[in-house]
């Protein structure tokens, strides 16, 4: 036990003397969270649009008014003819053009139908889609207002409420995601690198020749990173809660417990990686390519898994982060507990057992 303490202390020396890594460790959660929280939102506000109004009557101007007052759009310019549309888009500062046909009000009055055209800049398909959706929603709302004084034969009223994230803030999704990515980074990458470093420097040989048991060596290497990862998880949760108002509706203890399970899972991954590589570079490369990329892209952190083709959906199942993100969102946003999340919990524990068993096997083969 005493020699284990000395080991942990030595490991902390390594961590705290490597200023660059330390800066990355503590700087990254803060920067990532701020970037994801403030800059990278999927919500679009103040998109610049142009309007080409061939009619210029009271109805088109009312509709224009309604669209502009929604907060999503800013009128950048009024166009006089179709000829100007191409230029407006090409200059790049306009996302959408609305065109009202001539005699708009009259046609509605007489024929009950008039048309308008929405042109969107689909060089960014996501933005184009979101903006056209906003616009059509506003137009159909306007339509209903026009009809208000007239009797409708039947009417279905829809009332929408967004549960668990009423304002649809993206940061609610990013906080669990950022925790997932960072815990993996610290636990898996840092441990695999630090174990690989001992191999590279030849100190691992000396440790193995010493009376320390392999399990003691592993524990000594891992404990500091468990603590570090846990502190960073706390930092992110606190930042999320106080800066972005991300709620923790479920049990905080449960949330921290799950974080610990996920940290252990990442560590077992890190130990497994270090048992197959001999150098720090390879450890880093494998952690980056085999762990970070899939975790960011396939875990549902940024891109919804439901929209992926089935091979990727299938692949996502073996990515630990996918299950942890489900658990995190469940506990933080929905306030649910183990009785609902038992499947995910079992999968996380199963993965820990799997990777530890694999590492032990690998280690035994080396000893034979």
């Amino acid at each position: 036990m005493k020699n284990l303490l000395g080991f942990v202390k030595k490991e902390f020396f390594h961590i705290f003397r490597d200023y660059r890594t330390l800066l990355i460790l503590f700087g990254m959660p803060v920067v990532q969270l701020l970037v994801f929280g403030f800059a990278l939102t999927n919500d679009i506000k103040n998109a610049r649009i142009a309007i080409l109004d061939h009619s210029k009557d009271n109805i088109t101007s009312k509709l224009t008014q309604k669209i502009l007052s929604s907060g999503y759009f800013i009128l950048a310019q009024n166009l006089d003819s179709e000829a100007g549309i191409e230029d407006a888009f090409k200059q790049g500062n306009i996302k959408q053009v609305l065109i009202f046909e001539a005699d708009f009000a009259e046609k509605i009055e007489r024929e009950g139908t008039a048309s308008m055209q929405i042109l969107a800049d689909a060089s960014d398909p996501n933005v184009a889609k979101i903006l056209t959706n906003y616009t059509t929603a506003i137009v159909s709302d306007f339509q209903r207002e026009l009809l208000a004084d007239k009797k409708l034969p039947i009417e279905v009223k829809t009332e929408v409420r967004m549960l668990y994230n009423a304002e649809m803030k993206s940061v609610f999704m990013f906080v669990p995601g950022v925790i997932t990515v960072l815990l993996l980074l610290i636990s898996a990458m840092m441990t695999s690198i630090s174990i690989a470093r001992e191999k590279e420097m030849g100190t691992m040989e000396v440790l193995l020749v010493s009376p320390l048991k392999p399990i003691q060596i592993i524990i000594g290497k891992v404990v500091p990173y468990v603590l570090l990862a846990f502190v960073i998880a706390l930092v992110i949760l606190i930042l999320g809660y106080f800066v972005f108002g991300v709620p923790i509706r479920g049990s905080l203890i449960l949330l921290l417990g799950y974080s610990l399970v996920y940290i252990l899972l990442s560590l077992s991954l890190g130990i497994f990686i270090s048992s197959v590589v001999e150098s720090q570079q390879v450890a880093m490369l494998i952690s980056m390519v085999a762990l970070m990329l899939p975790t960011i892209l396939l875990s549902g952190f940024i891109f919804p898994i439901e929209n992926m083709p089935w091979p990727l959906q299938w692949l996502a199942n073996v990515i630990p982060a996918k299950w942890f993100i489900i658990v995190m969102r469940g506990v933080m946003l929905k306030g649910i507990g183990v009785q609902i999340l038992w499947k995910e919990t079992l999968i996380l524990f199963g993965m820990i057992a799997f990777f530890i068993a694999l590492s032990v096997r690998k280690f035994k083969i080396r000893l034979q």
Binding site: K2, N3, L5, G6, F7, K10, F13, H14, R17, D18, M201, G202, T203, E205, V206, L207, L208, V209, S210, P211, L212, L367, Q368
Partner: protein, 244 residues
């Protein structure tokens, strides 16, 4: 102290196979207490495998090996407490100071705090490291690292020290100084088991074994070996053996 002829390492018909490949074939030799035993061989001759078995890291496929009286099959823990190990890489933590390195290695061998303190002071004094004791090891010249690594390997006063190419990449003067440290240790009754690429160093050993393709082809004092193979230097002996 017991008699000089006491065997501290006894190896008999030791075999290590990896699949179809035999890394060590029927190794048989013994090393006496306080002896400097040179373990030579070309790269890939099976030296490293043999050392790993003797240190209790790997289990042999068959044969017998007693290290300090302990069996490599069943008593590896006792073996580990009684041996020191130093490799060509010197195995120090570069981002720790000499004192922290000593404290750490002393700690994992379970030395008491006061003993570590005492040993640290002694080591700093003997190696002349007092001025640089707050420097990280990475900033120290290679020769100092080597001496410090040797001191660290001897901290827990092992009966046997395994030195795996301890002088690789070090200049001749420093090598000479290092061998003086080895002599001093041997003088105190510590057995030195050393592998090296430098044939002039082989001459410093009490006895030398030369391994070729997993087998020990020759084992005797340097003088007798030179006589036997009608050579002027150990280098010639080695070349005659290695070329078959």
């Amino acid at each position: 102290m017991k008699t000089v002829t006491e065997n501290i390492i006894e190896v008999e018909m030791l075999v290590k196979k990896f699949g179809n490949f035999t890394a060590c074939r029927d190794l048989t030799f013994e090393v006496k207490k306080g002896e400097i035993f040179g373990f030579l061989g070309a790269n890939g001759a099976g030296k490293t495998t043999a050392i790993k078995i003797l240190c209790g890291l790997w289990k042999p496929t068959s044969g017998k090996a007693l290290i300090g009286g302990f069996d490599v099959y069943t008593e590896t823990n006792k073996i580990k407490k009684n041996i020191g190990y130093m490799s060509q890489k010197f195995s120090l933590y570069e981002d720790l100071t000499p004192v922290e390195n000593i404290r750490f290695y002393g700690g994992i061998y379970g030395l008491s705090r006061s003993l570590i303190k005492e040993k640290t002071a002694l080591a700093l004094h003997e190696l002349g490291l007092e001025e640089v004791k707050d420097l990280h090891v990475s900033a120290m010249p290679l020769g100092w690292k080597q001496k410090l690594a040797f001191t660290v390997a001897m901290l827990h006063e092992p009966k046997i020290v395994f030195l795996d190419e301890p002088t690789g990449g070090v200049d001749p003067i420093t090598r000479r100084q290092f061998w003086n440290m080895i002599y001093q240790a041997a003088h105190r009754g510590i057995t030195i088991f050393v592998t090296t690429h430098y044939m002039d160093e082989a001459e410093y050993c009490d006895r030398v074994s030369i391994m070729v393709d997993g087998e020990i082809k020759a084992l005797d004092t340097p003088d007798k070996l030179k006589e036997m193979y009608e050579s002027q230097t150990m280098n010639e002996v080695f070349l005659k053996l290695a070329r078959g």
